[in-house]
Symmetry: C2
DNA sequence: GTCTATAATTTGATAGAC
DNA sequence: GTCTATCAAATTATAGAC
């Protein structure tokens, strides 16, 4: 794996654990096995690194969503798949959603980074809204309200599970959301 | 107002905006109008300050909940009151829930601070569970699952509203939760 | 692309005077 | 309780050699 990729992987891990202010170029450099100046070669500023990581995270997330899409999927299966993508983030990685954490601290983030975190939410809301309109036959407004409700609940469930070191807390929320369809 | 109180107020503000790693003793001292060594007089370490602020936040939150309690309140009114406490945090303060933010970054926090954030969630879940049992006549397990669902959704709604600079996003979630009773 | 070296600033924290 | 003075360490970032 290239050092560029390693840098982004480690930065993503650290942001998802503690936020944008919780890591330094030196820590990343040490874990890669290079010097901090070499990290600056790839990403001139910390903001550049944060933006690249957030963009990559959102793009991958949306790609995974679209990758599991299937014209024959029912609303029920679509939403179950959607919930599973969040579930994986929690149970495999034992970490927060990167953009969820950035959203929480967004008032204190550079504008560009806040915008990138917002993009994650907007794309998710767009995707969910579409499903609720096309498969659930809701009107646009109701569909969007429901979409916001779903992503908010899932992000909150990650946060509550995290602080309680208890992934079954996520399951409790997931179950309620599925029952709501 | 005493400097001790001012220090805690400013620290609370900064944590709610950007998390535990987003402020320094010097910044707080500057805003109070004293020197950073004087802040250390009141709170020897940053952890001491964080713990005091988190404890105060949770105690006040629970006090407010109990203050609005009334034996004659229906489940509907109880939960509407509960949601209103979160709503106030967002619309009056335009900030995250302090313990919500600490929960998000809890994997990177000193254990004592993570525990204090966890206490907020446990007390909230306890309070909600009780209401669902006593006023909603749910069994203990269903009540607790519903309690977890409610606090998770509300915390997530704060986070989603924050990153979108749009308080109506919170309203969308609040409305769905009320409809669910 | 990675290194050494270094700059300028900030950080959490302490000692001791008043 | 607040101050001055100070510390050691860490931070983001740059210049220039290889």
């Amino acid at each position: 794996m290239s050092n560029l990729t390693k840098i982004q992987d480690i930065a993503e891990h650290k942001i998802r654990i503690g936020g944008f202010n919780s890591f330094s170029f030196r820590e990343i450099a040490d874990e890669v096995g290079i010097k901090s100046s070499s990290v600056h070669y790839h990403f001139p500023t910390k903001l550049d690194l944060g933006l690249a990581v957030a963009k990559r995270y959102t793009d991958r997330f949306i790609d995974e969503l679209k990758g599991h899409e299937d014209a024959s999927l029912s609303l029920q299966l679509c939403i179950e798949m959607y919930i599973r993508v969040f579930e994986t983030a929690l149970k495999r990685d034992r970490k927060m959603c990167l953009c969820g954490l950035l959203a929480a601290e967004s008032s204190n983030l550079p504008n560009a980074l806040k915008s990138e975190a917002r993009r994650f939410f907007q794309l998710n809301i767009e995707w969910l809204t579409n499903k609720f309109v096309e498969l659930g036959h809701l009107d646009e407004n109701s569909a969007k309200a429901k979409a916001i409700f779903y992503i908010s609940s899932l992000e909150g469930a990650l946060l509550t599970s995290q602080v309680n070191d208890d992934t079954t807390i996520f399951d409790a929320t997931a179950k309620q959301l599925k029952a709501l369809l």
